[in-house]
Amino acid sequence: MRRAPSWPRHAIMVVVSCLMLVPFYWVLKTSLTGENIYAYPPHIVPVDPHLFHYVDVWYLIPFPRYLLNSVIVTTMAICGNLLFNTVAGYALTKQFPGRRWVVLLFLSCMLIPFQATIIPAYLITSWLGVLNTYLGVALPLLSTIICIFIFKASFEAVPKSLIDAARVDGLSEWRIVVRIMLPLSKAAIATNVVLTFIWSWNAFLWPLIVIRTSEMQTLPLGLARFLSVMEDTTGALFAFVVMVLVPGLTIFLMAQKEFIRGLTSGATKG
């Protein structure tokens, strides 16, 4: 059987990869260049490159503050997800009356995109009195249906004999989850953490609605605010963009496999 040579496919993929990487390069170049960013024609390679735009971002905009807010919200979301999704996933592995309805409820909730709920969600949050707080931002992100099902599938794969043995040894349900189920579900945990991180780190619309004051703003809000104040007149904006993207990209590159598995098992965001 004669096989087609592989170099045309490589050629196409190299071109596609370059096209996909152009925006990354262009913004990185602009953040480093020492020349006026409006000079025409722009140079492909940065002229007198320096890192001082990054220093400017750190001191002139409250970048550390935005970073802190983002980290707090993301940490809350990750902790909430790990706790609530684990226990909910474990509960779903049990038989109880109304189980079908609960599953159906979760599945139908999954079809409601969060963006379609913003008006009442805002009113509910203000009724709960947590507008403009970390909790208010994190609350809708505290549990993810996809991850509940990922945990459920992972728990169901744990051998029944192991659980029975633990029960004979007199371990409580809670202990069984922590001591036996979770150590055997590392992949599910990693998927959950990575998905939650990426989603809460990037969340924009909801914080935009809930956050009122500038010292509570998270990174995406800070970025949008900086853009609205300065327009794109300074290389510092692009340094800001790079600084915001680096943590997300790092986590993604470290946990690519888990992230992709999470997305393909749930497939829809929201």
């Binding site: 320096h50 001082f52 220093v55 510092a236």
Partner: protein, 126 residues
């Protein structure tokens, strides 16, 4: 999972490396953030100029304003202390109306100690 494997896992190594770098950088900053900005003022022949006024402008995309001024001593040197800035411009002026260029000063962190290359007073103000 043994401790060795946990410690060499990428989820542990990468955050640890980042934390170490950040800690090291902060220690370095702690020892170099007195905000000392020092330099010399000379004329065109290279002789030190005493009694010249050196003005520090805070210039970035938020402000452009004079922040502080000082005088050169008998050896033509000047010194700013406790400057809580990371970017700015320096200009030297003499009594008789000569002045230097506005020298751009960029620092790596706020209040970094810096040694500025000599400012040359030259053309009369105009």
């Amino acid at each position: 999972m043994s401790w060795r494997r946990i410690l060499t896992h990428r989820f542990v190594v990468v955050p640890l490396a980042v934390a170490l770098l950040a800690a090291g950088w902060n220690i370095y900053i702690r020892f170099n953030d007195d905000g000392l900005i020092e330099g010399e003022v000379r004329d065109r022949t290279g002789a030190p100029v005493s009694g010249a006024t050196v003005v520090f402008f805070e210039r970035n995309f938020v402000y452009y304003q004079e922040k502080q001024r000082t005088m050169t001593d008998a050896h033509g040197t000047y010194r700013f202390d406790g400057m809580q800035v990371h970017v700015g411009q320096l200009e030297a002026r003499t009594e008789d109306g000569r002045h230097s260029e506005r020298r751009q000063l960029r620092l790596w962190f706020r209040a970094q100690n810096a040694e500025v290359a000599p400012l040359i007073v030259d053309a009369p103000r105009g």
